[in-house]
Symmetry: none
Subunit: 414 residues, 2 copies
């Protein structure tokens, strides 16, 4: 397992994965991990109800009575994760141990599938004045349509021995990926974080990254020539150079053939990093469950991602989030009809409408299997989950529980 | 951060502090950490109520309904901490990782502020017979007044290149501090732990401590000459040699300007080790809260220490401890009036009157902030805290929660 070689003494999290690999067994069971992004919330008024406590969720409540609940901690108490660390935790990788560099996450987020020889960086177009110093760090907040045309021109860059991909993101943001043997992500940002100075040259932070820094420098040089006549986006800064993170795959760790059914590129990308196969082109939860049914016989594990509990929370739209939770609840019977051996409903973090963003609060989590020990709950909510049989637990342990309830783990020791 | 250099790969606790340093942001929020020393207790009779459960605490109960509660574990389950490790844990430093040597703690406890070049040791006066062997290990339990006069005579010791401080503690106990560049605490105790044998010579436990051992030997030699005619205290043993522990400061870690408002030297000293500023000269809780109000605009974080929940517990005085808890409860509204963004009430450990001493039992903990998720409690007590939203958690994570609820942490990963 690659991470173990980076950590001679092994951290607890890496040792856990070694144990997983040792104990994993195969059988015909099916596991569904239904992630309602940002599902955890807060009341708008002290003492009030959260979004999940407000929503009418007869199906989830019924499952809570049959299953075991708990509150999962994505990273550590008090630490708010981004989508990357949030999902890595749910997938069983300690997010403090396995990090996704910013460039790699940005590439992942637009659906670019990183290869083992790739280094990705986030690019920002900027405006340079005649002397080459930055006069506008966001190229006058250039609209996406204009920016996309500029990105298109950059396809003309040619670096010998290196495949170069330039992809638009939004407004002044883009991603550049260099593909060649011997590249390394340890290159310093070229963003001076100020106007009135020139962008920095790409500098290696480690001798192993010398070639990568040179490649980036050549890219910037050619790009500057191509963009010289652009009114706004005639320069750029590059940030967050990073290669593909070395995650041992689901097949390798758990012996699971894993499928991901997600609508948004970011979550598809995160699933691909764990070696999951992307299934279908669903654009709605209903279509996702159609795909689930179609893929049912070909995979052991299904990651189903529902975005809208997060996006409504980010918007501070309490009532809309409540409605999205009810939509999710209504989808449960169709998933149950497939008779999964283990059905998990959880989130990658909380996104309280009250905070209009991700938060550190523990995430309500429910696992349903015939092997669940009753914990006396009859509802699925933040408050109920505090009394659940899994207690308050690190998110990375959820996959251990999934494997156990799927009877896919052998005994540890005789 | 010094500890990281001792642990090339980093322990979990050290990695957590690196994360803190990475994510900490500044804002105008105010955090109050109100430590009721030893607040946790036990019933005197099986099935009875603890001190906290007996006390009438309308203010704390009201706060419990608004905030989130939990039970903090100072070191590990079953491990009883002294005041040093108890407070380090609350301050966010894993007490198994960051250790305060006994000599350094004794010096801290009498209000001696250790410098970076100091090595402190605990001294015990003993009685030596004509042949130089110990006939009484506690110098006939010499009263403090007599002992203080003996300590005064020891001010005459002169060691070239070394500043020497000798300070009385109580009865036969004193503290000696050597200040010079190049000193090191790794010197063996000189206490043979028996009568009928001579005190040991100070021996270095590491080559780096050779100079320190020689300084200590010279100190003992001169002291013996000065004390030759003393009837009881004509000899001494030295124990627990230790330098100042290297704790990264609150400013450095959390970006917090931290003030400590304590009555007793030990707690002032512990706060100073974490880089807090001592504020005022309060002698009562009321005066401490006066100081809190005066310092409010100049600091971000306030450590308020209340001693008497511990001292009454140590005395086995159940009713007195109940009364002290009610006194603490009555002080809450004056703190609330300052409108702290985060108000924490907890203890550094439990001191059950029934055990007349510190104990390992988890510590009732309450955090109040507008960002608290309701956990359905309406009382602050050991029993209630077991059902709290923070669950049972390591004390060192409390500062992560304080920072999160003060909205002073950025997001981890994108």
């Amino acid at each position: 397992m690659p991470p173990a070689t980076h950590h001679a003494l092994g951290t607890a999290a890496v040792k856990e994965l070694e144990l997983v690999r040792e104990l994993a067994e195969k059988n015909a069971s099916k596991i569904v991990l239904f992630v309602a992004d940002g599902i955890g919330g807060l009341p708008m008024e002290p003492g009030g109800r959260t979004e999940l406590e407000t929503a009418l969720t007869p199906n989830l409540d019924r499952l809570a009575a049959r299953g075991t609940s708990g509150s999962s901690v994505p990273v550590l108490p008090g630490i708010t994760p981004g989508s990357g660390p949030g999902h890595l935790g749910l997938f069983g990788y300690d997010p403090l141990e396995f990090k996704i560099g910013r460039g790699a996450l940005e590439a992942t987020g637009i659906g670019f599938e990183l290869g083992p020889h790739d280094v990705a960086a986030r690019g920002n177009f900027c405006t340079l004045d005649a002397s080459g110093t930055i006069s506008d760090r966001r190229a006058g907040r250039i609209p996406s349509e204009e920016s996309f045309a500029v990105v298109e021109k950059l396809q003309a860059v040619r670096i010998p021995g290196v495949e170069t991909f330039v992809k638009p993101v939004k407004e002044h943001r883009f991603v550049v990926v260099f593909r060649a043997p011997g590249l390394d992500g340890r290159v310093a940002d070229t963003d001076p974080q100020a106007v009135g100075v020139a962008p920095l040259d790409p500098q290696p932070l480690d001798p192993a990254a010398t070639k990568t820094a040179e490649v980036a420098k050549e890219f910037v040089k050619q790009a500057r020539a191509i963009l010289a006549a652009e009114p706004k986006a005639n320069g750029m800064v590059l940030r967050g150079f990073a290669g593909k993170p070395a995650l041992p795959s689901y097949e390798e760790l758990y012996g699971l053939r894993a499928a991901a059914i997600a609508v948004y590129p970011m979550y598809k990308g995160l699933a691909r990093l764990a070696g999951m196969t992307l299934v279908g082109t669903a654009q709605s939860l209903d279509e996702q469950i159609d795909e689930l049914g179609k893929a049912w016989n070909d995979y052991d594990f299904f990651f189903l991602h529902f975005k809208y509990t997060d996006s409504t929370g980010e918007d501070g739209a309490f009532a809309a989030k409540v409605k999205r939770i009810e939509e999710l609840d209504a989808a449960i019977p169709r998933i149950e009809a497939l008779k999964p051996d283990v059905l998990i409903v959880t989130g990658d973090h909380s996104t309280p409408s009250r905070l209009k963003g991700h938060s550190w609060h523990p995430v309500p989590t429910l696992l349903v299997a015939d092997t669940c020990r009753p914990d006396g709950l009859d509802a699925f909510s933040e408050r109920a989950c505090l009394r659940g049989g899994f207690g308050i637990f690190p998110a990375r342990h959820l996959m251990l529980l999934a494997m156990a309830h799927a009877l896919r783990f052998g005994k540890y020791g005789a």
